[in-house]
Amino acid sequence: MKQLKELAFAQRAVMSLLLLSSILTGAMIIGQAYFFVTIVDRVFLKDESFQEIVPLLLALLGVLVVRAALTYINGRTGVKMASKAKREFRQSLLAKYARNPVHASLQGQSGQKVSVIMDAVDEIDSYFSRYIPQVIQTSIVPLIILAAAFSQHANTGWIMLITAPFIPLFMIIIGIKTQKKSEEQLEKMAEFSGKFLDTLQGLTTLKLFGRAAKQKELIQKSSLDFREATMQVLKIAFLSSLSLEFISTLSIGMIALEAGLRLVVFENISFFTAFFVLVLAPEFYLSLKELGSAFHTGRGSMGAAKKITEELERTEMAVQWGQVPLKSETPPAIELQGAEFSYGEEGFSLKNINAAIPPYGQIAIVGRSGSGKTTLLHLIAGLTAPTAGNVLVNGQPRAEYNEKDWFDQLSYISQHPYLFSGTIAENIAIGGRTDASRAEVERAAEKAGLAGLIESLENGYDTAVGEAGRGLSGGEKQRVAVARAFLKRPSIILFDEPTTGLDLHTERMLQISMKELAQTSTVITVAHRLHTIKNADVILFLDQGELIAAGTHEELLQSTAGYRKMFSAQRGVAT
């Protein structure tokens, strides 16, 4: 993955540190071999006394400790580099998602995005913490060992040089050969391993049908099938390390044999030289083999990196804002001028919408599901930008206004208001322009018909709700959203009217509340209730993203066949 590599090499200081520690590691390996061999040589052949070799022993101890310390530094640097990369990736994902118009975030992909920002970023870790340090180490340490071998006994160096390429070569050959096979097996493996989760998830159903006992054998069977499929893949992996093992053993054997022959038969190298190259040889091949395992861990990260890059490269049209202040006591006039919206390959969800929304207007958006009602609401709200045409506010494009001023005027009451983890009071206060006092929050709750419920709770306004707190029913959440609006007293209210499932109390409260809020603001409602529709000044009737007609209920009943049809169907079913 190119980006990952670039990101790693961009951290120059870290790279230099890794480089330095790798060079030192190489030096320590040489030093270790040198002192080991010298000590054995002096004691064994040169009959030196113990006192004479004490300095050598101490030097060796130093080399060993430094070598271990270098491993630590190398690993630590990798970990730190991974932290930095993860932070950067998460930051750019977040920046991306924050710019992201609401439309994209409502495509039901929120769960997937959570997984990208949490898991995919975490999976990047091993690339930086393991793979990169190992790559640097492997590109340096063998070279140093090779140089040391050449300097002492050129033949050993030649053997190393000739045999070394076989290791990556075999890795590649086996990798190519196994790739297809393991991909086939992977699918099977996923299927078998999913069986257990599937059974657990369906346990209630199984029990209700009296089928739970039988599943035991099925779990066992699918698990054992999983084992067979996995072993197929693993066997190949093991076989590949077996052949690498053979290559390195064979090569070390050659080095030993050559050195032995020189030492014994030709007597043209010393014991020191022969022992020295023999100690170095395994270190040389070990370092090469380690790259293989590091590569394995690095590959997992690359898949994750691909997922992240895909997210980052997805183009979104950010909503533009300007500097013009928007401050007035009366609601602004809003006008849609040939506004269009299309998203990705799905084609148009809104086509050429022209409509005027006067101050204090009561607007209802009506249409079948999928006709673009919510998208239109988002467009008016400034949550998405039109792909063509314009949204005018007091005659000027909305994009020229100051973002904060605009949203200060606005409340949005959705069908499923989100509760943040915190207290009920905090969840209402989030709607306010500034830090609202407790008295103001209570007044807003009162108006939204929440006061009774909240007082019945043990902790009252301080009851924890949201993720970690008490669940609220749909009706209760709706009333929290209304309370937010009462606290804010906006001049524009966007209201996605609930369909069904509300209790009578909420239904009544909603009607009363919306009536009161409407006295001081423009209200644009995605309407599902006849009384809302009948009371609207203007109804925007949408069909497949097009504005078919605009007018009052009576006007549309007269003029528009599609609208009429919708209402006659209503009467047909709702007996």
Partner: protein
């Protein structure tokens, strides 16, 4: 600890593969030691200008050791991994055996699917217990002991130093780190939980955050949580590196001592110099087996907490079925609820308050009310998923307490809001209903829910992901029709089906259930005219009940709900 012991017992079922892998693991380890020992000896011997045949023999043994090492390593890997996957299978079966009797009540506690996948993940992480926790020390100890035994022939001091090294690297250092690992793990987990909450709120609450201009603040909170989490991960990573380094230092230092002691003994004339190189090579090689010990504390902690979590899922649920009674089969039951009150475990608010209803055999009852009013809870009580707190439920005069869950379920066609479909085909999923169903019967059942378009061999993905919400509901109804039991319990079975299809399905369903007792929870108030009884719930209490005409005439809660519904555009 107790929980991990039970995992170990389960693991021991695979004795054969375990013993084979230990054998080959030992062989590979000892061959490596032999390989380097003989190479050290070879080179020392060569220095003394020995006869060539001695060298030939040594070189041959070198090759042999190398070959044995490589092949044994392969065999070891093969058998140990095979054992691991067999253990996984045993773990799954054994956990399923424990969990199965507790379903479905145990799932009420774990409503989110996320927890279920964590259970699966925990079971999977336990497969590593053998490979990463149990196995490395066993190999390490056997290889070490044999090596120590061998070196004792040459120098008892060197053998003792190696023994000290064994104790240090495989027991002292890992247990020292294991004690701290738990804390590190906990911090990382907490950090992750915190970040996960922030990310979820950021993405799911995006629109509200944007409107209320709290997005920037949330972004900052999220980045703070991320920084904190990364910091904890970093600590964990550095800690792991540290543990690895300490292990390495110990093994280096031990080898150094071997060299120093060996050199001293040689100069003192107590050890033949020719063995010095060999002993040092042995020491360096044998500690390679100790490398996995550095990662052991982490894996141990993983396994331990996974085992504990799993045990907790099944431990605290003591569902003992004391009932013996069975429901009379093939006959529609009459149901009575008398003063039933119910509170969910761990909650204060009563979910149902003093419910009294009478459902005659063969009667058709609808339960309506706003979301959260306790409709589904009532159905769960009828299915004996929960025991009632107060009052009693009777089926044909028999107390529910005396009836087994199985006998109730056997006599019920249950359609829930969310019905599970398994990976397989439509046929597989329908065959769950009853043994010996013919294709014709299944096709007829599909037609009754207007799913004629489906072929029985059409694939169904996990959780029915390739089906729409309405299709899933209709498939669930056809499955219930096939079961043909005399009691129907349905929880908003057609909430995702359009009104016309709903009417068609209900017409067939009530024909099918002519003689059965039917309880239907309905979100819509249409088509209830023919019901014998409508019960209106709000906040866990019955507000009204009666026939459609009675309730409409009364102009109470039901009437008002009806007025609102008439007011709601069904197609919009």
């Amino acid at each position: 600890m107790k929980d991990i012991v039970s995992v170990m017992k389960l693991m021991m079922k695979e004795k054969k593969d375990i013993l084979i892998s230990i054998f080959f693991g030992f062989l590979a380890g000892i061959a490596a030691v032999g390989l380097f020992a003989s190479s050290g000896y070879l080179i020392a011997k060569s220095a003394l200008a020995p006869p060539l045949y001695a060298l030939t023999i040594l070189t041959a043994s070198l090759k042999l050791f190398g070959f044995v090492k490589a092949v044994s390593r392969y065999a070891e890997r093969y058998f140990s991994h095979r054992a691991t996957f067999t253990i996984l299978s045993n773990l799954r079966v054994s956990f399923y055996e424990k969990l199965e009797p507790l379903a479905p009540q145990v799932f009420q506690k774990y409503r989110s699917g996320d927890l279920l996948s964590r259970i699966v993940g925990d079971v999977e992480s336990l497969q590593n217990f053998f490979l990463r926790v149990f196995y490395p020390p066993v190999i390490l100890v056997i290889v070490f002991l044999s090596t120590i035994f061998f070196t004792a022939f040459y120098s008892i001091y060197v053998a003792l130093i190696l023994l000290a090294g064994l104790i240090l690297t495989s027991f002292v250092v890992p247990s020292w780190f294991a004690a701290r690992q738990r804390k590190v793990d906990r911090h990382v987990r907490e950090g992750r939980g915190e970040l996960s909450t922030e990310v979820t709120e950021f993405l799911y609450g995006f629109r509200d955050l944007k409107i209320y201009q709290k997005l920037e603040g949330k972004e900052q909170q999220l980045m703070d949580a991320s920084t904190h989490y990364i910091k904890e991960q970093e600590q964990e990573g550095i800690y792991a590196m540290f543990s690895e380094t300490v292990n390495k230092v110990v093994s280096f230092v031990v080898s150094w001592f071997v060299l120093a002691a060996g050199a001293f003994l040689v100069t003192e004339g107590q050890l033949d110099g020719i063995f010095l190189a060999m002993l040092v090579m042995i020491s360096l090689t044998v500690f390679e087996n100790a490398a996995p010990m550095a990662a052991l504390p982490g894996h141990f902690e993983d396994s331990r907490s996974a085992a504990t979590r799993l045990a907790n899922v099944v431990r605290n649920e003591e569902w003992e079925e004391r009932a013996q009674g069975c429901l009379n089969s093939q006959h529609a039951p009459a149901i009575d609820m008398n003063g039933v009150t119910f509170t969910f475990p761990g909650e204060r608010r009563e979910a149902l308050k003093n419910i009294a209803i009478h459902l005659p055999a063969g009667s058709k009852t609808a339960i309506v009310g706003p979301s959260g009013s306790g409709k589904s809870t009532l159905l769960q009580l009828l299915l004996k998923i929960y025991p009632v707190n107060e009052g009693g439920i009777r089926f044909d005069g028999m107390s529910l307490e005396q009836l087994t869950q199985e006998s109730i379920w056997k006599e019920s066609n249950v359609v829930l809001q969310e019905n599970h479909f398994f990976f397989g085909t439509i046929r597989d999923n329908l065959l769950l209903a009853k043994d010996g169903l013919t294709d014709e019967e299944m096709k007829a059942a599909l037609a009754k829910v207007q799913l004629e378009g489906f072929s029985l061999s059409d694939p169904v993905f996990e959780k029915g992901e390739n089906l729409s919400g309405g299709e899933k509901q209709r498939l669930a109804i056809s499955r219930a029709i096939l079961k043909g039991a005399p009691l129907w319990l349905m929880d908003e079975p057609t909430s995702s089906v359009d009104a016309l299809t709903e009417r068609f399905i209900y017409d067939h369903l009530f024909e099918e259930a002519k003689d059965a007792t039917v309880v239907l929870i309905s979100h819509r108030l249409t088509g209830l005219e023919k019901m014998d009884q409508i019960i209106v719930l709000e906040q866990g209490a019955i507000i009204e009940s009666g026939t459609y005409d009675e309730l409409m005439a009364k102009k109470g809660y039901f009437y008002e709900m009806k007025q609102i519904e008439k007011n709601v555009l069904l197609h919009a």
